[in-house]
């Protein structure tokens, strides 16, 4: 049991520490694809370090909600890092929260972030909050629908069991999962403020969603928010890896399997980050009112995936 808890802790620490690196990797790949040299893989760490050392400036009207939000959001993402089977399935905390609870935990972070953005009462803050919630109310059901297909396949909403079923049962092609994978990719892009919904590199006020929410944050608060965003990207990526390419995640809690799992994870993340950068480089940002169409499409694809599964495999 204590070994399991140790692995659990190690996994969470690894994810939390790895998150800025993954963001740096995506940025680096983007820079290469755009014929730039890029700031280097470690740039996000340097930014975090700088921000943690600065003095915070808080607007006069900021309430307790504004100050608590960075911690709560960071907490949500760390909790997600505990729950998602990144290295090993069947960890001790996995029964505490299934995929539905995971979606709920993401929602908790998001709602607090939107509320904090409205707290100061600036035009950009409220606009960002509105747009964030607009993206969220479509992305959240799409995400749940994405999860329902593997949940029906494995007869369980526990991520650990889903991974177990998909990775260690004899390989079966599930056509429903293909739809779910595309829908999940679209949700990932939308929820993590990537192109085509939002541009993570922009600071042009009228086009942004995610950055507008954090305009009033500075120093350590901003650092936590940034770190939480990096964590969220990594969390979504590892969820995607766990659902759609689960091979390599350790089943047993022994040393060699874990090392293999770690190597597999790093390789998969490297590929996923490069693919994400490629995808972002190839597409253009949508107008904000095209975003609902994009997400409605994701939602419909996810529902189609579910229906495909029910039609083709439901009788079984």
């Amino acid at each position: 049991m204590s070994a399991a808890i140790g692995i659990q802790l190690a996994q969470a620490v690894l994810v939390v520490m790895l998150a800025p690196l993954f963001a740096g990797w995506v940025n680096q790949c983007r820079a290469w694809l755009q014929n730039r040299r890029g700031p280097g893989l470690l740039q996000p760490y340097r930014v975090l370090r700088k921000l943690f050392h600065k003095d915070a400036v808080l607007a006069h009207r900021a309430s307790f909600l504004f100050r608590a939000t960075p911690y709560i959001r960071f907490g949500c993402m760390v909790l997600a890092a505990y729950i998602i089977p990144t290295l090993a399935s069947g960890l001790p905390i996995s029964p505490a929260a299934d995929v539905i609870a995971l979606v709920g935990i993401f929602a908790l972070g998001r709602v607090f972030m939107a509320l904090a953005a409205m707290d100061i009462g600036t035009a950009f803050g409220t606009m960002g909050a509105r747009r964030e919630m607009l993206v969220a109310f479509l992305a959240e059901p799409a995400l749940l629908m994405v999860f329902f297909t593997p949940a029906l396949i494995s007869q369980s909403t526990s991520l650990s069991t889903i991974v177990h079923t998909l990775a260690y049962q004899p390989f079966v092609i599930h056509p429903g999962l293909a739809f779910a994978a595309i829908a999940f990719l679209m949700v990932l892009l939308a929820e993590n403020a990537r192109i085509p919904i939002d541009n993570p590199a922009t600071h042009l006020e009228l086009t942004m969603i995610h950055e507008a929410l954090m305009l009033e944050y500075s120093a350590r608060h901003l650092a936590l928010m940034d770190w939480a965003s990096n964590l969220k990207l990594l969390a979504y990526t590892t969820i995607g890896l766990a659902l759609f390419v689960p091979w390599g995640i350790a089943k047993a809690l022994d040393g060699s399997a874990l090392w293999v799992a770690l190597l597999c994870l790093l390789a998969k993340l490297a590929v996923a980050g490069a693919a994400l950068a490629l995808l972002e480089t190839l597409s253009a940002k949508l107008r904000i009112f095209r975003a609902p169409e994009f997400l409605a499409m994701a939602f419909l694809l996810a529902v189609l995936g579910l229906l495909t599964h029910v039609l083709l495999e439901g009788a079984a």
Binding site: F52, H53, D55, A56, V57, L58, A59, H60, R61, A62, S63, L65, F74, G75, L79, Y82, P95, A96, A97, I100, A101, G104, A107, L108, V111, M118, D119, I120, G121, T122, A123, F124, G125, T126, A129, R130, R131, M133, A136, F137, A139, E140, L144, M145, F148, A151, L152, Q155, S156, T157, S158, E205, L215, E216, S218, R220, F299, V303, L307, G314
Partner: protein
């Protein structure tokens, strides 16, 4: 000494009598605010405790019955407390304690009905709801049901000098009575020609086939009218804002649940085995209601109307769960039916807590600012910190955010949905995932609505200068809200306890318990059907969250030098920030209006470039008014005009009518 079920019945009846007595005591000094508010309302809260106690006593027990020495000769009132009524008694009791304590600090002198009259109406309303829950014959049920409708009508119109409020009250009364007629007819079908309106004999001889379906459809219509089921929802957004806030809280939190109680009583208890399409009908109507309600909530600009539409959504969610339960029951899958029914009951009590809480919070805001319009509020988190805190918990709970209570019922309901592929009907297997999609969409939108509700009222800059004078609620109001907040948190963190407590209802209605299955992973977790299928532990999530937040805070605090400076907002370097630059409620709802435009009847009044005083106005109305209600109203008026031809007001003419009737009757008789 009374024991078991008899004790529960005695407690429930004593609570009702206590409420009636407290109400009547209001007449002793109807104008004295101190007597009514500070003494009688807290006494009324004791009645709520009695109800909750009665329910808790009766829940695990066998049903108990009694015959009251009241009613017509040879037609006495029958009462019965079984697990179902006990559960709803608990709900009534818990919610009414919070609302009564709040009311003690809320009612002020000066407008509308005298405090003493409000007191009697309020307590009669409470007592009649309790009697609806314990009634064991259609006669007492209808008497209590009508008393409930009338007393709440008077409460809704307590500010009767305002014409809109009178109109809202009339609409409420009208739909309540259309519904009551349907319920009466449903009982008429259920007694199946035996002339015995006691529920026991209805239960013993359930109607068959078409008659059963008729009784079900009538009950769905009648109780749906009270619950706010589409398309009978139109009274809710009118009546809830018109009533004083504690009354809105009771109507939305508890009265709507009596309709759910009635529907469960008829469908699961009095009618025999259901037909599968009953469940599908309820499910589809519930889905439409949920999506419709939340969509309209998103575009509202009046905070109480927003909450009223959100109540429609929540009733929709409850009906979705009930629809699933009926479907599972029709296919003889009692365990899944128990899961869905548990979700329905859980959501009922959740909604009673958080919706009452939010209505009470709007009441405090209303008192402190005299403003209901979201466009004129803002920034109240600074002047009303405790109300803002309570409302935050309520808003998070209703948005279905873990680890609060709204999430638990949503989780249970989704688990029930995920079990639908085991249904033996392949069409349903295909269609029900679409239902899950609609439900998740409604849940997603609920988050949007609550961010709008909370953000526009409590966050940002005050949109009016007068808001600077806003003050926090008094201690009684805060106590009432804190009671409900405690309920939200407890129900969120201890779901297994709640499921075990309400399990006797499953046993009564479905002869199947969920308790053992839900508890299979130990007391920390709740599992839907089996531990390997799904489990959730709000306590672990909450404690983990707390630990991570605390650790982060401490590390940041001690590792780095945490200096803090206050300054002007950055706002991209723009200096002239005014409250007008924030989103209004309209602005926040605008994306929803745009995305779901066909759902609304939008009227825009836009100025031309040459207008001296340009006016912008955009309203989003309900299609149902124009498609259903106004045509029916016009038809009714036309029919009454035809009938009105008979009336001339001359007495000789009326005498002639009487004579003609007499002659015709004599002809018929001979």
């Amino acid at each position: 000494m009374l024991e078991g079920p008899q004790l529960a019945i005695a407690l429930a009846l004593a609570g009702s009598l206590h409420w009636l007595a407290v109400g009547l005591a209001g007449l002793a000094a109807p104008q004295s605010l101190f007597w009514v508010a500070r003494i009688l309302f807290p006494l009324g809260a004791l009645g709520g405790l009695a109800m909750a106690a009665a329910g808790m006593v009766a829940l695990p027990l066998e049903p108990g019955t009694a015959i009251l020495p009241l009613g017509l000769p040879d037609l006495p009132f029958h009462v019965r407390v079984d697990a179902l009524s006990a559960f709803f008694l608990v709900l009534l009791g818990i919610a009414s304690v919070g609302v009564s304590i709040f009311s003690a600090g809320y009612f002020r002198a000066g407008h509308g009905t005298a405090p003493g009259l409000l007191c009697i109406q309020y307590h009669v309303f409470l007592a009649s709801m309790a009697l609806v829950l314990v009634a064991d014959d259609a006669y007492l049920f209808m008497v209590a049901w009508e008393t409930m409708a009338l007393s709440s009508y008077f409460l809704v119109t307590s500010n009767h000098r305002i014409p809109e409020i009178r109109r809202a009250g009339f609409l409420y009364l009208l739909i309540a009575h259309v519904g009551a007629v349907a319920i009466l007819l449903s009982y008429g079908v259920l007694q199946a020609g035996q002339g015995d309106y006691v529920f026991g004999s209805m239960r013993a001889h359930p109607p068959e086939g078409g008659w059963a379906a008729t009784a079900f459809v009538l009950a769905l219509f009648g109780f749906g009218a009270k619950a706010g089921l589409l398309p009978l929802h139109v009274w809710l957004p009118e009546a809830h804002p018109a009533a004083p806030s504690p009354v809105s809280a009771l109507m939305s939190g508890v009265m709507l649940k009596t309709a759910i109680y009635g529907l469960l009583r008829v469908t699961f208890d009095l009618l025999g085995a259901p037909q599968w399409w009953w469940g599908v009908l309820t499910l589809v109507l519930g889905l439409l209601t949920a999506v419709f309600g939340v969509m309209f909530a998103a575009v509202q600009t009046d905070m109480k109307r927003l909450l009223a539409y959100s109540s429609i959504e929540n009733i929709g969610v409850v009906l979705i769960a009930i629809g699933l339960a009926i479907t599972f029951r029709a296919y003889a899958m009692p365990l899944l039916a128990a899961l869905a029914l548990t979700a329905a009951l859980y959501h009922c009590i959740n909604h009673a807590l958080f919706k009452s809480l939010l209505f009470l919070a709007t009441g405090s805001v209303l008192h402190s600012t005299r403003e209901r319009n979201l466009g004129k509020l803002g920034g109240l988190i600074h002047s009303m910190p405790s109300v803002a805190f309570f409302a935050l918990i309520g808003a998070l709970a209703i948005a279905g955010i873990p680890p609060l209570n709204g999430f638990v019922s949503e989780w249970l309901l989704l688990q029930a949905f995920l079990a639908t592929p085991s249904l033996p009907n392949s069409y349903l297997n295909m269609l029900i995932p679409l239902g899950a999609a609609a439900l998740t969409l409604a849940a997603g939108l609920a988050g949007y609505v609550m961010v709008k509700f909370y953000g526009v009222i409590f966050l940002g800059q005050p949109r009016e200068p007068a808001l600077a004078r806003a003050h926090d609620a008094g201690w009684l109001e805060r106590l009432g809200m804190a009671w409900l907040v405690a309920g939200c948190v407890a129900l969120g963190l201890l779901p297994l306890k709640v499921v075990t407590i309400l399990d006797p209802v499953n046993n009564l209605l479905l002869a199947q318990t969920l308790g053992e299955t839900a508890a299979r992973s130990g007391w920390l977790f709740i599992t839907g059907l089996a531990p390997e299928r799904a489990s959730y532990s709000p306590l672990i999530v909450f404690c983990g969250m707390l630990a991570v937040v605390a650790a982060t805070f401490l590390v940041v605090r001690f590792r780095y030098d945490c200096r803090l400076r206050r300054g002007d907002p950055w706002d991209c370097g723009y200096p002239g920030l005014t409250p007008r630059m924030q989103d209004t409620a309209e602005g926040f709802g605008q994306p929803i209006k745009q995305i779901f435009e066909p759902m609304f009847r939008i009227e825009r009044q836009l100025p031309t470039p040459f207008d001296e005083r340009p006016v912008y106005r955009a309203t989003a109305d309900d299609h149902f008014w124009y498609w259903a209600y106004l045509p029916i109203a016009r038809l009714t008026e036309r029919v009454s005009r035809w009938i009105g031809v008979l009336q001339h007001g001359r007495i000789s003419l009326y005498l002639l009518y009487s004579l003609a009737t007499l002659v015709v009757l004599l002809l018929v008789v001979s």
